[in-house]
């Protein structure tokens, strides 16, 4: 004797958030039942395993039926099949699009294509996230990317509008889209210490200050492409290192400001020219796709690592960058102040975010 059929349908769709999470995490029904039992679900309502199994199966089925809708969240509100209160809809959507940063970190900068999907198996075994969950997260990235790719206007708002996500989550997606679009190198071993949140922050900075949308939010194309003119103008910064006088002057200005204020003053003084050259070189090469993609690796190799080996504290670095960028204003021969500031403000916050173990 066996249960052939077992369904439970509420006029208002009955949803259990905990079970939803289990489903999102890619558990099978029997896994989920076991987890719920371990979590003490049986103490509640004196349920037995059978009841729990039936409930779990039912909920999983419901989520599966909802999944199609969740993939185009704007439909959730005006579909008729499931009557779900608005706050529940929001919860369903938000949770569906939430992702594991560990997973996102792995995917970051990779092409969101089918080829990569095969790598999901590896990511799954590496991160311990169930393959099913990896699939969902990857598909979400891809879906969001596909939709916003063709839209004009500010990226974050577009994501929010189309996927009805919270501001925080929409920003994370913007970072993912931005990385996928710009194909930044993020997978190198040297970058492994950086978390998704580090990158997301940097992406946010880049989007806010360097992209097309940052200047004009009614542009034709995806506003996550960096502004070409700006990148081009960055070449002009070379004068800072190429002009010996200017470089010396800059150095003395910075040293004057920092003397006695940072512990690593001597190292800084010795290294100033290298550091400055690195920063300016990175700027001047951003027009080349290859160098652009290597932005983060360059930052790590040319700046963060040398500083770290000299045992700079984050405070030292912050002060240095502050004065390094502001002293340029005192160089009378330098005429690219606006570009400099636009470049340095972003680079400064990125470096500071990335400067940790």
């Amino acid at each position: 004797m066996s249960m052939e059929l077992d369904v439970f349908v509420g006029n208002t769709t009955v949803l259990d958030q905990d079970v939803y999470q289990l489903w999102l995490d890619g558990h099978t029904v029997s896994d989920a039942v076991r987890i719920r039992m371990e979590a003490g679900a049986l103490q509640e309502c004196e349920a037995n395993a059978e009841v729990l199994h039936s409930d779990t199966t039912d909920q999983f089925r419901t989520f599966q039926m909802c999944e199609r809708l969740l993939q185009s969240p704007s439909k959730v509100a005006n579909q008729l099949l499931f009557q779900i209160p608005p706050h529940r809809q929001t919860m369903l959507i938000e949770r569906y699009y939430e992702f594991d940063s560990v997973f996102a970190r792995e995917v970051l900068g990779k092409k969101l294509s089918k080829g990569t999907k095969k790598d999901l198996d590896d990511i799954s075994s590496k991160t311990g996230i169930a393959l099913k969950s990896c699939r969902r997260q990857f598909d979400n990235f891809k879906r969001v990317f596909k939709v916003v790719e063709e839209l004009k206007g500010p990226l974050v708002e577009n994501i929010q509008r189309h996927f009805l996500l919270s501001d925080v989550l929409a920003r994370d997606y913007a970072a993912i889209v931005f990385f996928a679009n710009s194909r930044f190198e993020a997978g190198k071993r040297k970058l492994q210490y950086l978390s998704f949140q580090d990158f997301a922050f940097c992406a946010g900075q880049l989007i806010s200050y360097w992209t097309v949308g940052a200047v004009d939010n009614m542009m034709e194309d995806l506003d996550v492409d960096l502004e070409k003119d700006f990148l081009h103008d960055l070449k002009d910064l070379k004068v800072l290192v190429n002009d010996k006088d200017m470089l010396d002057q800059h150095k003395s200005l910075v040293c004057a400001q920092l003397r006695g204020k940072i512990k690593v003053f001597s190292e800084m003084e010795a290294n100033f020219k290298n550091l400055s050259r690195a920063l300016v070189n990175i700027a001047s090469k951003l027009t080349h796709t290859k160098d652009f993609r290597d932005l983060f690796i360059d930052l790590v190799e040319k700046l963060i690592e040398p500083c770290r080996s000299d045992k700079w504290t984050i405070g030292d670095l912050r002060l240095f960058l502050k004065h390094y960028s502001s002293s340029v204003h005192m160089l009378e021969a330098f005429r690219h102040q606006v570009i400099w500031d636009r470049y340095m403000s972003v680079i400064k916050s990125c470096i500071l975010k990335m400067y940790h173990d």
Binding site: E4, V7, N78, L80
Partner: protein, 983 residues
């Protein structure tokens, strides 16, 4: 040409992709009514077409308006091949035909395909202009209002209750026509859906005509059912109670209470005893407190006969009109009455109502029921309704005679049902024999004898026996009423109605359910019918015994809303009886239960028995505590009841005062000692579950309706006991699951648990439950205020409201104990009636601030109850009666049987909600799923399911909103509501 139907197709959305190449659809719409069809233009390459069509006008007879649905078909235009159908929408325009119901149908309706389910939505506008036609020979009955609700609808007042109306329509089932072999499953399903729409339209029209003939203007408690007889046809039948209703004015002072409270004041007119002219109580056909059929089986009774088996004979000769299924002489004069469809009240004093205006119900006799087994392949003229009419006639006659025997002139809470398996059909009818006040009736029951004095306490009056205690029709123990001490009451009372408002109740109520499964040999034709007939009485008897025991185990003495369902399959019969048990203050305290063994010599066995006995006693005590049953101690004086020699078996368990030889009979009836233990187990389970529903009063009005369906496969070759256990476990587990599911709503109660059992195939048991879960607010503040108001209305009963959280209502009726106090709460709390033209659901429901599409879906509540807690129904928009078929040939791909059915039920809900919203409503009350026929063929990867649902579309306003707005000037609010009704 007295009507013009107008339809406008506005837009579509979420359409499926019909053209793989472009991933788009070139959609257009056909609008069909009767034989006229209009088409919209093709809206190319869009999944969200904007047709914005002209108004399509159909000029039609109002007869057609009632019969036909408006049929909207959405198609994909294809230049080279035939256009592909995307799906259909059937719109029942009946609600538009009544001036007091809806005025327009407007909104997004799901486009439904029987193979693919819902495929997008279409926005339509439908209106009807009716021209007055005073032709008195007209065939239409436009304007007669229909309500599924089995009480006088909330915003109406009953001027007159005319009585029973019934009608039956037969047609050939398209699924069994020869053409079905060559047409597609889709075409066949659509033919069936359309036919049923037509038939139910016709049925409603015909019933409406009868109502007009009787001088009424409405049908309350309208119960429509389908019998899928297979080869012999498709039957749509309906019963209801004809009434003359008057819309209550929306002016606050008069409007609020009338339904529940005010009439009661002037209602105390002389009760009508029944002079019961022809009732030969001595020959007493079985009846009673205990369900009729069962009691007829007490072995020693000379008059005991099997209604079912005698009917079987009839079924073999259906045309002979041998109505003398009741061999008792006194029935003859009824048989003489020619079946005239137009003198319904006189012929059948039946009422489908389960809740009555105060004062209407004077006395309740007990449950009366009749069943009969028929052979469908013996119908001479399958396409004509006569044979079925005659069958039902017999049954109704029998019911009537049972009522008579109980000294009652009427049957209330009346319902009819069938169970069909192959060519065998069991027809059942049941109700509660009662005496009604003639106040509401046209030519009320004929006698004037005052057997009851004028001032009968409303709290106990209905319990007083209607029959003559000296000629008691069945053995019963009578005592003086524990409330008024003046009239006799029985020791237990079983009824199919809701607990009357005015009833005095001690403690809380709970669900009581008896379940039974009996194997039967596979057989054909007459032999089969005979076998079933022979089994039926035992089934009913055991169900009754179970009910009785479980009732006692809980220390209760009355059942309300009893519904016994018998389902027949090839190799077994299922019986499921559900009711709400309560302790009626007026009735004596039930005795304990004592058990005794068959083999008293065995000491260990004795010990076992005594352990069990202890367990039972403990359980009873525990239950009494749990349900807060503490009746005041009174000296019990048993009044000489002419209890004859062999007592009914059901009394055998009532022990303490009874002799041991009776007690030992327990084994005879149960066959096995463990049978009882088993029962204990399952009651324990129920109690545990009950304990979950923590106590705390104030219904907050957070309700959630659901349907759950389970199909269970049994092993072959199970014994009766094994089957029983499995079936019982199945029900228990289902209940447990429900509790678990709804734990987030705790404290809550499950109301109106409506169980439906079926045997779709050999070795398969299908149980479907529909119920509503209501949660209770933990805050007591609100409630206190309300309660004080309530006390004035139900005197001496402050306990009732606090008792409600524990109520587990069952079945269509059970809602009472909760509904009434609630209703009263509502009427007191909302002293102002206010009509908001845009009720909650529409105005502020799903507005999500992030929803960018801007459109949101209105929330539509569904409830099997006739009311919405914490809210006031301000308008009835018409009846919802929908029939859907869903079929698949890719069962596995759709998630197996569960996935398939889950989707289908969700779709049905969605369609009901959409239609209600289109009528302008925000809730369905008295919702029920009448039919859920599920068939599968896993080998072919196919499944098919038929679902029939019904209910009343209404507009409700939250009580809190009422309170908020009640400060507004009255004139403004009444205007809006009047304007809305367009009266």
């Amino acid at each position: 040409m007295p009507g013009r139907l107008k339809a406008k197709i506005v837009a579509g959305r979420h359409l499926p992709v019909m053209d793989r190449a472009s991933d788009l659809t070139d959609a257009f719409v056909e609008v069909k009514f009767g034989n006229t069809t209009f088409k919209t233009d093709v809206y190319p390459k869009s999944l969200n077409p904007q047709w914005n069509s002209e108004w399509f006008k159909f000029e039609v007879d109002d007869e057609d308006l009632q019969d036909e649905p408006l049929q909207i078909t959405v198609l994909d235009h294809d230049t080279y091949s035939a256009n592909d159908a995307i799906g259909k929408v059937y719109i029942d325009i009946d609600p538009l035909l009544c001036s007091e119901a809806a005025t327009v149908i407007s909104g997004w309706l799901p486009i439904y395909d029987t193979i693919h389910g819902i495929r997008g939505e279409i926005n339509v506008l439908v209106k009807v202009d009716l021209f007055n036609d005073l032709n008195r020979f007209r065939q239409s009955s436009c304007g007669v209002k229909f309500f599924c609700t089995t009480s006088i609808p909330r915003c109406y007042r009953a001027i007159m209750v005319h009585g029973f109306v019934e009608e039956l329509v037969v047609n050939e089932d398209p699924e069994y026509q020869w053409i079905d072999r060559i047409r597609t499953p889709r075409a066949s399903n659509e033919a069936r859906q359309r036919l049923i729409f037509l038939m139910s339209g016709e049925l409603q029209r015909k019933i409406g005509l009868k109502v007009l003939e009787m001088g009424g203007n409405a049908v309350v408690g309208y119960l429509q059912c389908f019998d899928l007889e297979g080869e012999s046809g498709l039957v749509v039948r309906a019963i209801g109670t004809a009434c003359t209703l008057e819309k209550m004015s929306t002016f606050p002072a008069t409007a609020t209470h009338p339904n529940n409270s005010s009439p009661s004041k002037d209602m105390k007119e002389p009760g009508f005893g029944e002079e019961a002219p022809g009732v030969p109580l001595s020959s007493g056909p079985p009846t009673p407190l205990r369900a009729q059929t069962f009691s007829s089986f007490s072995p020693s009774k000379s008059y005991s006969r099997q209604s079912s088996s005698s009917d079987t004979e009839l079924s073999l000769t259906p045309k002979t009109g041998k109505i003398s299924s009741c061999p008792v002489g006194h029935l003859c004069h009824f048989c003489m009455i020619p079946p005239s469809p137009f003198c319904v009240f006189q012929e059948y004093p039946f009422f489908t109502l389960t809740i009555f205006p105060p004062g209407f119900l004077l006395h309740v006799g007990g449950v009366v029921s009749a069943r009969s087994v028929k052979l469908l392949d013996r119908i001479h003229n399958p396409d004509e309704p006569e044979t079925r009419d005659a069958w039902w006639e017999e049954i109704r006659q029998e019911i009537k005679s049972h009522a008579k025997a109980l000294g009652c002139h009427a049957v209330v809470g009346y319902s009819e049902s069938t169970s069909i398996c192959e060519e065998v059909c069991i027809l059942s009818a049941s109700g509660t024999a009662a005496i009604l006040s003639s106040r509401f009736m046209q030519d009320g029951p004929l006698d004037t004898e005052h057997r009851f004095e004028e001032v009968v306490s409303p709290g106990c009056g209905f319990c007083h026996i209607p029959y003559d205690e000296l000629n008691i029709p069945f053995p019963a123990q009578l005592t003086y009423c524990y409330c008024c001490r003046r009239y006799k009451v029985p020791d237990v009372l079983f009824t199919t109605i809701d607990l009357p408002t005015e009833a005095n109740v001690t403690g809380k109520g709970c669900l009581i359910q008896a379940r039974l499964c009996r194997t039967k040999k596979k057989a054909q034709g007459e032999g089969n019918a005979m076998a079933i007939s022979n089994l039926l009485p035992f089934l009913e008897y055991e169900l009754h015994t179970q009910l009785m025991n479980k009732l006692k185990l809980r220390g209760m003495n009355a059942l309300f809303g009893l519904r016994i369902q018998i389902s027949v399959g090839e190799t077994m019969l299922l019986g499921l009886a559900s009711a709400t048990g309560v302790y009626l203050t007026a009735l004596p305290s039930p005795g304990g239960i004592q058990i005794a063994g068959k083999t008293p010599s065995d000491i260990t066995y004795e010990q076992h028995i005594s352990n069990m006995q202890k367990k039972i006693n403990d359980t009873i005590t525990k239950n009494k505590e749990q349900y807060e049953i503490n009746p005041p101690e009174v000296v019990e004086e048993i009044i000489g009841s002419p209890i004859p020699e062999p007592r009914q078996r059901s009394r055998l368990f009532r022990s303490h005062s009874e002799s041991s030889d009776e007690v030992s009979e327990i084994d005879l009836s149960h066959g096995k000692k463990d049978a009882f233990v088993l029962e204990i187990d399952d009651t324990d389970a129920v109690e545990d579950i009950h304990a979950l529903l923590t106590d705390s009063p104030t219904p907050a009005g957070n309700t959630s309706m659901f349907t759950s369906v389970r199909v269970f496969r049994l092993n072959a070759n199970l014994t009766n006991q094994g089957l029983n256990k499995i079936f019982s476990d199945l029900c228990e587990n289902l209940l447990k699951s429900l509790y678990f599911k709804l734990r987030s709503m705790v404290p809550c109660c499950l109301c109106h648990l409506n169980f439906t059992v079926a045997i779709p195939e050999d070795e398969l048991i299908q149980v479907a439950v529909t119920a509503v879960a209501m949660s209770f607010d933990k805050e007591q503040t609100l409630e206190n205020g309300k309660r004080s108001g309530e006390k004035t209305l139900i005197k001496g009963k402050p306990c009732l409201v606090s008792s409600t959280p524990f109520f587990l209502f069952s079945l269509l009726f059970l809602s009472t104990p909760l509904s009434f106090p609630l209703a009263l709460l509502l009427s007191t709390a909302s002293s102002m009636e206010k009509a908001s033209p845009l009720p909650e659901g529409r105005s502020r429901s799903l507005r999500s601030n992030r929803s960018y599409s801007g459109s949101s879906v209105a929330v539509v509540k569904m409830t099997p109850l006739s009311f919405i807690p914490g809210a006031k129904i301000i308008k009835y928009l018409g009846i919802i009666n929908m029939f859907f078929i869903r079929e698949t040939s890719s069962l596995r791909e759709e998630g197996g049987v569960s996935g398939f059915l889950h989707t289908f039920i969700a779709e049905v809900f969605a369609m009901v909600r959409a239609h209600v919203a289109a009528l302008g409503g925000n809730a369905v009350v008295s919702y029920s799923m009448k039919e859920c026929v599920f068939m599968e063929n896993p080998n072919k990867n196919q499944a098919q399911c038929l679902i029939n649902v019904s209910g009343d579309a209404v507009i409700f306003v939250r009580e809190s909103e009422l309170e908020l707005t009640s400060v507004q000037p009255q004139s403004a609010t009444t205007q809006t509501s009047n304007g809305g009704e367009g009266t």
